[in-house]
C-alpha cells in the first residue's frame, strides 16, 4: 500500500517536473513559432493584392499553379530531381564518408588529429571565404594551371555544361563533414572499451570491428542525423545562390533554391509568397512521411 502510494506520489512529482521544464520552451515556441508563422502557413491558401497590401482567400489558386508547373513545365520535376541528387550526395555519401572518417579518427591512426582539424575547418570558417576560394579554384586556378602545364584550354568548371552540377555536388560534400565528424567521434568514444577489447581478443579485423561493432553501436546517433537530414531534402539550396546569384537555369534549380528565388528575387515582391508557402506545404507533406519512414527503418520504432 505504502509502496504504491509512494510510486503515485513519485509519478505526480514527475509530471509536475515535466510540465515545469517544458513550459518555458513551449511558451517560446507558442510565441515565436506558432504566433509568428500562423499567417505564413495560411498564406498557402491566399493570394496577394499589392494595391491594398492584403492577402485574400484564394483556395485553389496556388495549388493549381503547382499542378500546372508540375505537369506542364519542367521546373518542378527538375527541381525535385536535383534536390534528390544533392540530398543523395550530401546525406548518403556525406554521412557514409563521415562515419568512415570518424572511425579513422577514433582509432587514432596516423595523423588522425590533423585530419579531424581539417574536416571540421569548413564549419569554422565563414562560408563566404570558402565560396570565394572554391569559386576561384574551379573557375580560374584549375583551368589556369591546366593551361600552363598542358597548353589546353578548359572551360571553367562552374560554367561548363557537364561540369557544373558535379562541381556543385563536390562543393556541398566538401564542406559537409564538420559537425557529423564531431558527433560521430564523440559517439564512438563513448563505446565501452570492454566491447572493443573483447573483439580484439577474438581477433576481429578492423573492417569487421567497424561494420559489426562500431556502426551498430553508433547507429542511433547516425539515425538522428539522417532523420534530420531527410527534412533538408527540400530546403537545401545547394549553395546555388552563393555561386550564381539569381542567374541559375531552371534545369539546375533545387526546390530550396526555387523557394528562395520565389521569395527573394527582385521584382517579385510579396506576390509569390503564397505560392512559395503552398510549395513549402506540399514539400512538407512529402518530406514528413519520408522522415518517419527513415526513422522507422533506422531505429525500428513505430512512434508518430
Amino acid at each position: 500500500m505504502k509502496e504504491a502510494n509512494r510510486k503515485k506520489l513519485g509519478d505526480k512529482d514527475e509530471l509536475i517536473f515535466y510540465c515545469c521544464i517544458i513550459a518555458l520552451p513551449l511558451l517560446q515556441i507558442a510565441i515565436f513559432y506558432f504566433y509568428v508563422n500562423f499567417n505564413s502557413v495560411l498564406m498557402a491558401f491566399k493570394s496577394y493584392d499589392k494595391m491594398s497590401k492584403t492577402f485574400y482567400w484564394d483556395f485553389g489558386a496556388n495549388f493549381s499553379l503547382f499542378w500546372k508547373e508540375l505537369t506542364q513545365t519542367s521546373i518542378i520535376i527538375d527541381a525535385f530531381k536535383n534536390s534528390f541528387i544533392v540530398w543523395l550526395f550530401t546525406c548518403v555519401l556525406g554521412t557514409f564518408l563521415s562515419i568512415v572518417f570518424s572511425y579513422y579518427i577514433f582509432k587514432k591512426w596516423v595523423l588522425s588529429k590533423t585530419f579531424k582539424f581539417f574536416l571540421f575547418l569548413p564549419s569554422v570558417l565563414p562560408s563566404i571565404l570558402l565560396v570565394i576560394v572554391f569559386k576561384f579554384f574551379v573557375n580560374d586556378a584549375i583551368p589556369g594551371y591546366i593551361l600552363h602545364f598542358t597548353g589546353k584550354t578548359v572551360t571553367p568548371l562552374l560554367i561548363g555544361k557537364d561540369s557544373l552540377m558535379p562541381t556543385i555536388l563536390f562543393y556541398n560534400v566538401w564542406v559537409c563533414f564538420g559537425s557529423q565528424i564531431l558527433i560521430y567521434t564523440g559517439a564512438m568514444d563513448q563505446i565501452a572499451p570492454e566491447i572493443l577489447e573483447a573483439g580484439k581478443v577474438d581477433g576481429v579485423s578492423c573492417i569487421r570491428e567497424f561494420i559489426s561493432i562500431v556502426v551498430p553501436i553508433i547507429l542511433p546517433t547516425v539515425a538522428t542525423f539522417v532523420i534530420a537530414n531527410v527534412a533538408t531534402l527540400f530546403t537545401n539550396q545547394a549553395n546555388l545562390y552563393a555561386f550564381f546569384g539569381d542567374n541559375v537555369s531552371y534545369s539546375n534549380y533545387t526546390i530550396g533554391y526555387y523557394l528562395f528565388e520565389l521569395v527573394n528575387k527582385e521584382g517579385n515582391g510579396k506576390t509569390m509568397y503564397p505560392y512559395a508557402s503552398a510549395l513549402g506545404i506540399i514539400c512538407t507533406l512529402i518530406a514528413f512521411p519520408l522522415t518517419l519512414l527513415a526513422r522507422r527503418l533506422l531505429t525500428g520504432k513505430e512512434e508518430a
Binding site: 520552451p25 505564413s40 568512415v100 581539417f118 576560394v133 566538401w174 568514444d189 563513448q190 512559395a276
Partner: protein, 309 residues
C-alpha cells in the same frame, strides 16, 4: 604470448587495407583544403597591383596563381583592419563600431544564443526522451515537421512581435528568440538521452532523489560531452551568421556583418580580391583560435562523459 603476436599481426594487416584506403581519401581532402587555404593566405600578402596587373615581357598577365614575385606585403591586413568598421545610425549621429567592438558584439550574440539554444534543446530533449508521456511523442513529431517545413516571409511578423514585447534590438531579446528547440540539437539530445539506460534513474529514485536532481546530477553529467559539442557547434554557426543579427539587433553590429559589408564595400582602396580576402581572414581568426582551444577541451569532456553504448 602467442596470442598477442597473432592480434598484432591481424591488426597490422587490416590497418594496411582499410586504414590506408581511408588515409588516402583523407589526405586528398586535406590537400584540397590546404591548397585553398594556402592560396588564400598567399593572395592576402600580394598587392592588388601584382594580383591583377603583374607584367611579363611588357604585357599584363596578372599573378593570381603563383607565389608573390614582387615581395610580401602586409598592407592588405592593415587596410582591412582600418576599414573594418560598421556605422550605425543613432538619432542624429552615426556611431562607428571598430573591429573590437564588433568582436565583442559577436561574442555576446554567439555565446548568449548558443547557451540558450543548448539549454532549451537539452531540457526538451531530456523531457521528451526520459518521460514516456504521449505528449513527448507529439513534440518529437512536431520538431520533425517544422524542420521540413520552409516558412515563407515570416520575418516582418517576427520583428513586429519582438517589438511589441519590447525585446527588439536587445541582446536578451535575441537570446530568447533563438532559444528554440526546433533544430537538430534537440534530436541529438533526444537520441543521447534515449541511449542512457533506465536503471540509472530507477536506482536514484529508490534512493529518494527528486526528478530535478536526477536530471541535473545524474543524467546531464553523463551527456556533458554532447552538451559541449552542441554548444561549440551552435557557437560557431552563430558566430558566422550575419543575417539574423543584421535584422534583429541592428544597433549591435557583429563581426560577420562587418565582413559582409567589407565584402561589398564601395571604397576604392579596399575593393579588390587580396584585401577582401585579408578582411575575411581577419574576421575568421578569433573563431579559429576559439576552435583550437575548445577542440582540446572537447576531447577531455567526451572522455569524462564516457557512457557505454
Amino acid at each position: 604470448m602467442d596470442q598477442n603476436v597473432k592480434i598484432k599481426a591481424v591488426k597490422r594487416s587490416s590497418v594496411n587495407v582499410f586504414a590506408i584506403a581511408i588515409a588516402v581519401l583523407l589526405a586528398i581532402y586535406m590537400l584540397t583544403m590546404c591548397i585553398s587555404l594556402f592560396w588564400t593566405i598567399m593572395t592576402t600578402v600580394k598587392t592588388n597591383a601584382e594580383y591583377e596587373l603583374y607584367e611579363e615581357a611588357g604585357l599584363i598577365v596578372g599573378n593570381k596563381l603563383w607565389l608573390p614575385k614582387t615581395g610580401i606585403s602586409l598592407n592588405n591586413y592593415k587596410m582591412a583592419f582600418q576599414y573594418f568598421y560598421v556605422e550605425v545610425q543613432e538619432e542624429m549621429y552615426t556611431v562607428q563600431y571598430d573591429i573590437f567592438q564588433q568582436f565583442l558584439n559577436s561574442f555576446l550574440y554567439s555565446f548568449g544564443c548558443a547557451t540558450s539554444v543548448t539549454v532549451v534543446s537539452l531540457v526538451m530533449g531530456y523531457a521528451t526522451a526520459r518521460f514516456r508521456y504521449k505528449f513527448s511523442n507529439y513534440i518529437y513529431a512536431f520538431v520533425l515537421v517544422t524542420m521540413a517545413l520552409p516558412i515563407v516571409g515570416s520575418m516582418p511578423s517576427e520583428i513586429a512581435v519582438a517589438t511589441s514585447l519590447n525585446i527588439f534590438d536587445t541582446f536578451p531579446g535575441i537570446w530568447i528568440m533563438r532559444g528554440s528547440f526546433l533544430n537538430t540539437y534537440f534530436l541529438i539530445f533526444f537520441a543521447q538521452f534515449k541511449m542512457i539506460p533506465k536503471d540509472y534513474t530507477e536506482a536514484a529514485k529508490i534512493d529518494g532523489a527528486r526528478p530535478f536532481s536526477i536530471m541535473l546530477k545524474i543524467i546531464v553529467p553523463l551527456a556533458m560531452g554532447t552538451v559541449s559539442t552542441v554548444f561549440v557547434l551552435a557557437f560557431i554557426s552563430f558566430w558566422n551568421d550575419f543575417q539574423i543579427p543584421m535584422v534583429y539587433i541592428p544597433s549591435y553590429p557583429v563581426a560577420a556583418y562587418g565582413m559582409y559589408k567589407f565584402q561589398n564595400t564601395p571604397i576604392v582602396e579596399i575593393a579588390n580580391t587580396p584585401t577582401r580576402l585579408a578582411g575575411i581572414c581577419l574576421m575568421a581568426l578569433p573563431i579559429v583560435i576559439f576552435y583550437a582551444i575548445f577542440n582540446k577541451k572537447l576531447n577531455v569532456n567526451l572522455s569524462v562523459g564516457g557512457v557505454k553504448g
